[in-house]
């Protein structure tokens, strides 16, 4: 639904986005990940038809965002980073205006409004002036606006910025729930968020795409090291280490702490079967197991590795 080809945008001599190529399919939630100033907003604004690219092309639903701008915009719900709204309008009044502007017919209007108001949990706020809403509610109004014409493509610029932890979880689950019938591209600079919500992550650094793939693929590609298991319990350190090493060939066992409670790290794999074997081993030997945890290299690590070596 979104196709971007060799997209470049310069502001005077500064290159904000350079030679960007990627696609987002329908039914996919894709995170655009990168530090502030990496070119995320510029790219999303080009897709939304607000800025033209300096070179390259972008299509939304097969429509060129420059040559067929209006047709492309008709297929897209876009939420800018700061969620600009008219403070003097009521929530329902604003959504009605936006829906009509986006071509929702008067007949379909009540259904569409009720749908997005329920989805974004704005039922209590429909008659309030937007200027009196909290940040979290304003964010939801912005999302409701993006959704109101039921567009197949959603482009959301930092949809969780400035929200409290509960609101962040709500917005994430809302975005997650959209993936069945939308292509969603959203930007964030928070790694756990990209990992929690998206099918695929595009990592942008200094205007260039440095990596893309599922969170697991990215970890692998970055060579962030194999997975590991962390074990805590009560057992004789040497016996435990020896027994653990024999569970499967190729495991590297490190005793992190010999005093009680014992802590051991088993590197090389962390799948369910291996973890089950560890639990059985402790039970058979009569040792106590107080913690058994899978340790995956975080996307933070992946990100650091991918962007390392780029001169600062």
């Amino acid at each position: 639904m979104i196709e971007v080809q060799n997209l470049t945008r310069t502001y005077g001599p500064r290159r904000a986005v350079e030679d960007l190529t990627f696609t987002v399919r329908s039914g996919e939630v894709v995170a655009f990940l990168g530090p502030n100033g990496a070119g995320k907003s510029t790219t999303l604004r080009i897709l939304a038809g607000y800025l033209p690219p300096t070179a390259g092309a972008a299509r939304v639903g097969g429509r060129d965002v420059v040559r067929e701008s209006k047709a492309a915009r008709r297929l897209m719900g876009y939420m800018p980073e700061t969620v600009p709204l008219y403070p003097e309008m009521t929530v329902r009044g604003y959504l009605r205006f936006r829906a009509r502007l986006k071509g929702v017919t008067p007949r379909a209007l009540p259904t569409r409004l009720d749908d997005v108001i329920a989805r974004c949990r704005l039922q209590e706020m429909t008659q309030r002036p937007i200027g009196m809403l909290s940040r979290g509610y304003r964010q939801r109004v912005g999302l409701a606006d993006a959704l109101v014409a039921a567009p197949p493509v959603l482009v959301l610029d930092e949809p969780t910025a400035g929200l409290d932890p509960n609101q962040i979880l709500e917005v994430r689950s809302l975005i997650r729930s959209l993936h069945q019938d939308h292509a969603v591209l959203y930007s964030t600079h928070i790694l756990p968020e990209a990992e929690a919500v998206s099918d695929r992550v595009l990592i942008l650094h200094r205007g260039r795409l440095v990596a893309q793939g599922s969170p697991a693929e990215l970890r692998e590609r970055a060579g962030a090291g194999p997975e590991a298991i962390l074990i805590e319990g009560t057992a004789p350190p040497r016996d435990a280490a020896a027994a653990l090493a024999q569970l499967r060939p190729g495991l590297a066992v490190t005793v992190l702490r010999e005093a009680e409670p014992l802590r051991v790290r088993v590197a090389g794999a962390a799948d369910v079967a291996l973890r089950a074997s560890v639990a059985r081993l402790f039970a058979e030997r009569g040792w106590t197991l107080t913690e058994l945890r899978r340790e995956a290299p975080s996307l933070e690590e992946v990100f650091a590795r991918l962007t390392i070596g780029e001169d600062v």
Partner: protein, 244 residues
């Protein structure tokens, strides 16, 4: 009118009534013109025609238009630019020219409503036994609406240049004053082409015939051209975001 233009124009008009400024403008406008009517009527010794001619084309009228046009237009683009709503607006499936048209229509309708309320003044004259020439009054109002449209278009253009309402208002005031100065400058120029050109380009002279009760197509064309020219500049100014 295409759907998006009508929908946006209605919102713009409604936005006037949701802001305190519109009510202040309406009150001051009626107060000022009521006072003007009183003063002029006294000065002309109760001559209704002379009074109405002066009210719809005299110095008082121009003064109110110089204040009115910037006040009504300063918000239209500057505020949207400041708060960022311009981005949500321009990424909806609506063209730049449609946005400009709708905003102009919103402001123009509000301006027309002010004059509709103003009709209470001649109505009072009628109630008090006066009998103004209604044909001449209609011609004057056509002039007032056309000149107002041109002023509003210039103000809209000024508003599209900046994100500050104050700068937008002062820019449009300066712009309007410069255009009107042409009319005065014409008087000091030597007889010839230059003087003719300044007279024709100047803002004030074209309302004179309307004030006399004559609708002349040349003057209609002047104000309409003027309006379209500034609306065109406003569309260009919006598009400039693309190469900035």
């Amino acid at each position: 009118m295409p759907g998006p233009v009508r929908i946006l124009a209605v919102r713009e008009l409604a936005a006037f009534f949701l802001s305190p400024l519109a009510w202040v403008v309406l009150a001051l406008f009626l107060l000022f013109h009521g006072y003007l009517l009183h003063v002029t009527l006294t000065a002309t010794d109760g001559d209704v025609e002379a009074t109405l001619r002066s009210l719809l084309g005299g110095a008082g009228f121009w003064l109110s238009l110089f204040l009115l046009a910037p006040a009504l237009t300063m918000r239209l683009f500057a505020e949207e630019r400041r708060t960022g709503t311009l981005e949500t607006l321009l990424t909806a499936p609506i063209g730049d020219a449609q946005v400009v048209t709708a905003k102009f229509l919103g402001a123009f309708l509000f301006y027309a409503l002010l004059w509709a309320a103003w009709l209470a003044l001649p109505a009072t004259i009628v109630l008090l036994g006066g009998s103004p020439d209604l044909g001449a009054l209609a011609a004057r109002l056509v002039g007032v609406l056309l000149a107002g449209g041109a002023f509003l278009a210039a103000g809209l253009f000024a508003s599209s240049l900046t994100s500050s309402q104050a700068i937008a208002a002062s820019t449009s005031a300066v712009l309007l004053i410069l255009l009107s100065l042409l009319s005065f400058a014409a008087r000091w120029l030597p007889e010839g082409v230059l003087r003719r050109a300044a007279e024709e380009a100047g803002f004030l002279r074209h309302l004179e015939d309307f004030a006399r009760g004559i609708v002349d197509l040349r003057h209609v064309t002047y104000y309409v051209t003027f309006t379209l020219f500034f609306l065109f500049l406003t569309v260009r100014s919006l598009e400039s975001r693309r190469w900035r």
